[in-house]
């Protein structure tokens, strides 16, 4: 905890992006039809109505219709579809 506190203070003071060190997911939403998740851990659940993605900090639940994954690599996940909600569980 002590260690983490020092790290946070260091990055806060230098204005450095935190996702580099802490593996925090970066979520980019383009309109309501495309969503990119970087630094994800794995896919927990996948259907055309809902997709649940695990990340290091929390899980992300996206609901909508016609959901599909347009690109899947080790670091990046691009989800396409007609989104309704985006939750952090």
């Amino acid at each position: 905890m002590e260690h983490n506190f020092i790290k946070t203070a260091f990055f806060d003071n230098l204005d450095l992006p935190k996702d580099i060190l802490f593996d925090i997911p970066v979520i980019t939403v383009t309109g309501k039809n495309e969503l990119t998740v970087d630094n994800y851990k794995n896919i927990r659940d996948f259907s055309d109505k809902q997709i649940t993605v695990n990340t290091k900090s929390s899980k992300i639940i996206i609901t909508g219709t016609e959901i599909s994954i347009s690109c899947l690599t080790k670091e990046t996940l691009i989800v396409k579809g007609c989104f309704k909600t985006l939750e952090f569980g």
Binding site: N42, D45, D48, I67, S68, K74
Partner: protein
Amino acid sequence: MKLWQNVKGYVCISVKGFSKERFLNLLAANDIYVWDIGYFGNTIKLSLTVSGFRRIRPLLKKTHCRIKILSKHGFPFIIEKYKNRYLFNLGFCLFWVSVFALSQFIWLLEINGNSTVSDAEILAFCKSRNVCAGTYKHAVDIEKLKTDIRKKYPQISWISVVQRGTKLSVNIAENVPDVSVPSDAEPCDIISVKDCVITEIIAQNGTPAVNVGEAVKKGDILIRSDFDMLDENGTPAPLYPAHSAGKVRGKWSEELSFDFPYLADIKIYTGKTHVLRKISIFGIEFDTNFLKKDTKFKKYDIINKNTQLNLGVDYPLPVIIKKKIFKEYEMTEKLYSKEEAEKAASLAADRKLMSTLPQNCDILDKQIEFIHSGDHVKVMIKLLLEDDIGVITGGNVFNGTNEAAN
């Protein structure tokens, strides 16, 4: 990205089983690139590369999933499909080889910009220098051809020969033919080429001999080559003959008359056409009309149309389709009413004027009169015309034609 995957080849598969998400996670963990993952009922469909597909067997075992190949896309699969069709492959290769081989020859000689030298003359000259349709294009010495054509035809002032694809274009600019005009230093007069009334006279060099409104006759001096000058003492200065220059315009009237009959034979096209086609390949003609070699029509016009096949603009092929179109017509007699005859006659008059009048001539006034008599109408056209009438003459040398002025 999609295009590149098409070149490399990819497969679409459907995955069935209990832990499909785990399978996806394993694909990502093993660095197998997958895209377009969709969920359809109990199965998921996804696309992956051929190299990725070869590596998924252990992952399927681990997750107890089953796959089915839905479709294969891309270049490697097309090759696989046609690999054993030897004749097809041979034909495909022969096609490209023949396209390459045929593109090494010139199949069209195009000549632009010539007016006094005819196309046929230049083509014949090129043929005598071994440049014609069917010549190996790398054997053509363009520079030599250029200099040869310029030597042969001195009226050509500029020439460019461009060889592009299977087309050789010869672009030409010709000189204006030499008119024997006395040199600037030589004294000369400007004289009239017509009987007319002067409407405008501007002397740039020399002394005007006539005034505006004055009637002159053919051969009269309009601008004199000597200057009337007085020196500072008021006595006439010695004459210095000059090279006259200037612009003189005059007007004159002309009359034209012709008869236009009420009863005229006119051509009416029946709308029936008959087409004979011939195909010329490498200059050898093949007749495609085996049954009807000639037309049944009694009276017809013939229209010839040649179409050369090409691959794009620069790659004409040695295949020409020659069409001979016969258009049938019938001659019928038409009786014009007086009004119709006047209309038709005035149209005919306009056509006649277009062909007979000099090009730069202005029409100041035009009066048409119709005199109906018997079976025809007499058309009288009175014209008031204006044109340049001055022409340079060196001393007594004067040929008196209008062409000399132009």
